[in-house]
């Protein structure tokens, strides 16, 4: 019954999306149209129904209802509860339902909360949100029904891919989806603003917290995904330039650019058309990413849901939505005048530079991701990886990071170089000294990690400079947000550069009792024990790691064998110190009885993800700051209006109620 309820709710939600579209569209012609008043309630109800539907999916997974096809093929009665639940979105149909649920909830939230823009713009925005939702409801209901029943219930389910039976999966996809799909709000706002030609600073202020919210989730999702791949896949790598990783990075780059250009629009009423385009592009990148992953058109380690027919459906959706929005942009953006001018040496100038660089990086990632598709059309198979992405990306990343060291110190509209001479000199000195020091201390180091280390140190200090000379308690939260996020970039960069410059690796075959070394660690294999989990058995190595003869620490990497479905995985073991991580993976047993052991010492590697968390924290601080200042401004406006009314009554209304006081 719950599956049918879920499906029914989904159909009703789809119908409400139609109502939302129709109402919003009619309201553009006639603000008094009877359906116009229904747009907001439709959006809110649609969100509730989608949420209900998703709850029903969770329910059938939680109770392992094996008459539902999706449960039978992706779950198993013996799985731990948390993985039963996460199995609900660890497959194509469930993850698409999560997608539309997030989208409907985002629409419901703007329908409920957002009152600052002209109602006509809001209705156009909600109509656009409904229009996009319709396509995804159609996709879900017509080709990917998650609630499909089997003619006969099966006795036992197929289980979930063991790689996905991890706590990381429980949070990584939902977080990433909130980010991906949250950007649909920016898309709808951009379309709404184009339709009503209302691209104003107020529009940017309204859109910004929503973009920030999506961006925070996207940042967290990418950070979590990177850490998950790092410890779960057992390759010791944290970023592979895999098409699916790129699919999450591209919306992030576009959203980051959008946040910065929205700041210019909000503060200075410039970059109108550019901001609109980024709003369209950010969500478009989410959809393109989904298409690339789901169509199987590119080969990827994430190929968990490949189906060319679905690919065709998503491609059609892309054509309608992205094509439609870009057409609207081409037709309308010319009439959105460019706004005010500014000097190159100014806060806006730095932000524009940041935008151009971010867009260039986005273009490079997009090109690298799609290049195999292009060459395959001519019968040549290539795979594009780090040798392309790292150096080519660096060409634009390095100038961007350098400008980032001084951009936040510049004044709006126009500034002169003389004023920021001291901070620039400090930063430059730091970068040069660090580079020289690392070259002397480490000797043989390749160029990119060297630059990374040097710039990370310079940026870390420079990112704190906007706080110089301020009362820290009275500094606005949004400034704190910027400082923390920029500092997070420096921290993350330091981790990346240090990991790639100083990692030490060792692959050995050891028998119990043997000791081996990596960096300044001595690692002894004490023994190998068989262990059993709820749905797997494993050989677990007991390793004792000592640093320079100090305290021993125990590590227990495992080689697991799952039996539903049958698959081998490796569970790495990590030992985290303040200055790095020891990473151990156990492999197969050789015929002579020794075990393969792979060890890494990765200095400062944890900073990569700590930096990611700081970036997200910066976003959160900024949201709180913006919301607080909005609320303050609104209550100030209201107070002013009240005072105005009172004054009017006092002055003019001697016969009114206030007149009695006089």
């Amino acid at each position: 019954m719950s599956a049918e309820l879920g499906l029914a709710a989904l159909w009703m939600a789809a119908a409400l999306a139609f109502l939302q579209l129709a109402g919003g569209a009619l309201a553009q012609r006639d603000a008094e149209a009877p359906l116009a008043a229904l747009v907001r309630p439709a959006a809110m109800l649609q969100g509730l129904l989608a949420l209900f539907s998703f709850a029903m999916l969770l329910w059938v997974f939680a109770t392992t209802d094996l008459s539902v096809k999706l449960v039978a093929s992706n779950s198993h009665s013996m799985k731990p509860m948390i993985f039963k639940l996460s199995g609900a979105w660890g497959n194509h149909e469930g993850s698409m339902l999560l997608w539309v649920t997030v989208m409907a909830l985002a629409g419901a939230l703007i329908g409920w909360l957002e009152k600052r823009l002209p109602e006509k713009t809001m209705q156009a925005t909600l109509a656009a949100q409904g229009f996009v939702a319709i396509g995804f409801y159609a996709f879900l209901l017509l080709s990917s029904n998650p609630f499909e029943r089997l003619p006969m219930p099966v006795a036992e389910g197929n289980g979930l891919n063991p790689l996905l039976q991890d706590i990381g999966l429980a949070f990584h996809p939902p977080t990433l989806y909130m980010g991906y799909v949250g950007l649909s709000v920016a898309f709808s706002f951009a379309v709404g603003a184009l339709l009503t030609r209302q691209v104003t600073p107020e529009f940017a202020r309204v859109m910004r917290p929503w973009v920030l919210g999506a961006w925070v989730f996207l940042t967290l999702g990418i950070t979590a995904g990177s850490y998950w791949a790092y410890y779960e896949l057992g390759w010791g790598g944290w970023w592979f330039w895999d098409p699916v990783e790129n699919a999450s990075l591209m919306p992030w780059l576009a959203a980051t650019a959008l946040l910065h250009s929205a700041s210019v629009l909000a503060a200075r009423d410039a970059l109108r058309a550019w901001t609109i385009m980024l709003g369209v592009v950010a969500f478009s990148m989410s959809m393109v990413g989904t298409f690339l992953v789901r169509s199987g058109i590119l080969t990827s380690v994430h190929a968990f849901a490949v189906d060319p027919e679905r690919g065709t459906f998503i491609l059609a959706l892309l054509a309608v939505y992205i094509g439609g929005a870009l057409l609207l942009f081409a037709l309308r953006a010319g009439s959105v005048s460019e706004g005010r001018r500014f000097a190159a040496m100014s806060r806006e100038g730095a932000l524009v530079f940041n935008n151009v660089m971010l867009s260039a990086i986005l273009g490079i990632v997009l090109l690298g991701t799609l290049y195999p598709l292009l060459t395959e059309a001519f019968g040549v198979r290539v795979s594009v990886g780090p040798p392309y992405f790292n150096p080519v990306g660096a060409i634009f990343t390095i100038p961007m990071l350098l400008v980032m060291t001084i951009g936040p110190l510049l004044r709006w509209r126009e500034d002169n170089a003389e004023r920021v001479r001291v901070p620039v000199a400090i930063t430059t000195a730091l970068i040069v000294t660090t580079a020289l020091f690392v070259m002397l201390a480490a000797g043989n180091i390749s160029l990119l990690p060297l630059l990374g280390l040097a710039i990370a140190v310079g940026l870390a200090v420079a990112s704190l400079m906007p706080l110089r000379g301020r009362n820290l308690l009275r500094t606005p939260l949004s400034t704190w947000g910027m400082v923390v996020a920029h500092f997070g970039i420096a921290v993350s960069l330091l981790g990346m550069a240090s990991e790639s410059a100083f990692t030490e690796e060792r692959l050995v075959a050891v028998a119990p009792g043997d000791t081996t070394e990596v960096a300044d660690w001595q690692i002894e294999l004490e023994g190998i024990d068989p262990v059993a989990g709820p749905n797997w058995t494993a050989m677990e190595a007991r390793l004792l790691a000592r640093r320079g003869g100090g305290e021993p620490h125990e590590l227990r990497p495992e080689a697991r064998s799952f039996w539903a479905p049958v698959q081998q995985t490796t569970e790495s073991a990590l030992l985290t110190r303040w200055d790095g991580q020891l990473y151990a993976v156990i492999g197969d047993q050789a015929p002579d009885g020794r075990w393969q052991l792979r060890l890494w010492w990765k200095p400062l590697v944890t900073l990569i993800w700590l930096g990611g968390l700081l970036i997200a924290l910066g976003g959160v601080l900024s949201i709180i700051g913006r919301l607080a200042s909005d609320i303050r401004r609104r209550s100030a406006d209201r107070r002013e209006a009240d005072e105005h009314d009172d004054l009017a009554q006092i002055r003019g209304g001697r016969s009114g109620p206030a007149g009695e006081l006089v």
């Binding site: 058309a273 892309l318 094509g323 010319g334 059309a377």
Partner: protein
């Protein structure tokens, strides 16, 4: 600069066309050898079985097109394709086998159980020849023309439906 406003749409249209084209293409599952059209490398393999002689490059240069079958006694799909190889032999095709990483006694047992369509069988104990001709698995079947030039590669087991295709390729190679 109004035209720049159309640039994103044009770029997107290009992506759409490319993606649409690729979606409509049958997804190629195999990586074909780059050796097709090139001559076989020089080699000389010991016999893999007591029942047949070994194989050398010279055996392919007698002017008659042949099949070169890469197989192994430990390979299950090779059992599945045995009847088709038998049928090709019945049709008058000369098949030369190369057994990959195998033992003579296992090869003999396999041939006894599943038939022996081969005129010669060489032993490639370290996959040397297999890799040189661009084969990445077993079984694979190559069409070699009378001058020792690789004309066609069939990846995977030969199914009943593949027999006419292989016969046609042999015919082509004979011209």
């Amino acid at each position: 600069m109004r035209w720049t406003l159309w640039a994103p749409l044009l770029l997107f249209a290009f992506f759409l066309g490319l993606a649409g084209y690729q979606l409509s293409q049958p997804k190629e599952q195999f990586i074909h050898s780059t050796m097709i059209g090139k001559p076989l490398p020089a080699f000389n393999l010991e016999p893999a079985s007591s029942t047949r002689p070994g194989v050398s490059l010279a055996d392919f240069k007698d002017g008659k097109p042949k099949l070169l079958n890469i197989w192994a006694s430990w390979c299950l799909p090779c059992i599945a394709e045995a009847p088709q190889l038998e049928a090709l032999k019945e049709a008058g095709v000369e098949i030369i086998g190369v057994a990959i990483r195998d033992r003579p006694e296992d090869v003999d047992r396999f041939l006894e159980m599943h038939g022996n369509p081969y005129t010669r069988i060489g032993a490639d104990d370290i996959s040397a020849i297999q890799l040189e001709i661009g084969s990445s698995g077993v079984p694979e079947t190559f069409v070699i023309d009378g001058q020792g030039i690789i004309r066609h590669q069939h990846i995977g087991d030969v199914r009943a439906g593949d027999v006419p295709e292989l016969l046609a390729r042999l015919q082509e190679a004979a011209q």
